[in-house]
Symmetry: C2
Subunit: 121 residues, 2 copies
DNA sequence: TACATTGTGCATGCACAACATACACAATTT
DNA sequence: AAATTGTGTATGTTGTGCATGCACAATGTA
């Protein structure tokens, strides 16, 4: 469990959790079959409610990233590297769509965006 | 009033309004001194509540983009092109910071991000 | 079976978005 | 001046989503 949550962030806690665990799975930091910590333990560790953790785990389940077994635990799903890459790109593209919409609304060109990115990445 | 709002968007209506009007002012589409439509008329036109419009106008006021005069109306503030550009860049940079944080969390390099941008902008 | 550990379901509190309505102030008309 | 119209403002209500605690069900182990 290598995650850090911010209570001041505008993003809901469960979403921060979901995003960080997702990234770790898709980057390969958490291997297939790995058992996530029990929601109670995670909740204790992160100082949030069990339900908040559960909600994040639910999102992971719905995205097909983990398999939940009542009474046993939550395990990172099995999928190929290709599949992993596809899911990662889907997530990133979905995010990028809304990002670019914002930039476009201010009249930015592609080159301007790239210029700003180079300065701030 | 050339704005379009989506009731299904995850973003609050007042924020959609704020972002679109902001962009129009900073792009120069709405000139200094221009009088925004009365909140009642805008509300009627957009089929939302007066209060939703007011909230968006309040954000504009707080950002220094308009001046509100009770009984008269809301007017686009006076500022130089330089100032306009500065505000625009501030808004975009603030957004880009959180965007890039997301990309980085998935382990994307700057080049990968630029590649994706070129494909989808 | 008995018990501990795991995830699940339900009811609550709180904050915020959106709404309808009524109010207060300024400009105009009479 | 007083009344009317047009403007933004304030109050109170409703619905939705985040976060919570506690009791329940399913699984594994002694």
């Amino acid at each position: 469990m290598n995650v850090s949550i911010s209570n001041t962030s505008e993003k809901p806690i469960y979403q921060q959790l979901f995003e960080q665990i997702s990234a770790q799975i898709l980057k390969g930091e958490l291997e297939s079959g790995y058992c996530l910590p029990p929601i109670r333990q995670a909740a204790l560790e992160l100082r949030v409610s069990v339900i908040t953790v559960k909600k994040a785990w639910e999102e992971l389940e719905r995205s097909g990233l983990i398999n939940t077994v009542t009474g046993k635990g939550c395990f990172v799903a099995e999928f190929s590297s290709d599949e992993k890459l596809r899911i990662r790109n889907d997530m990133i593209l979905k995010q990028m769509e809304s990002d670019t919409a914002y930039y476009k609304s201010f009249g930015l060109t592609l080159d301007e965006v790239i210029e700003l990115l180079k300065k701030n990445y």
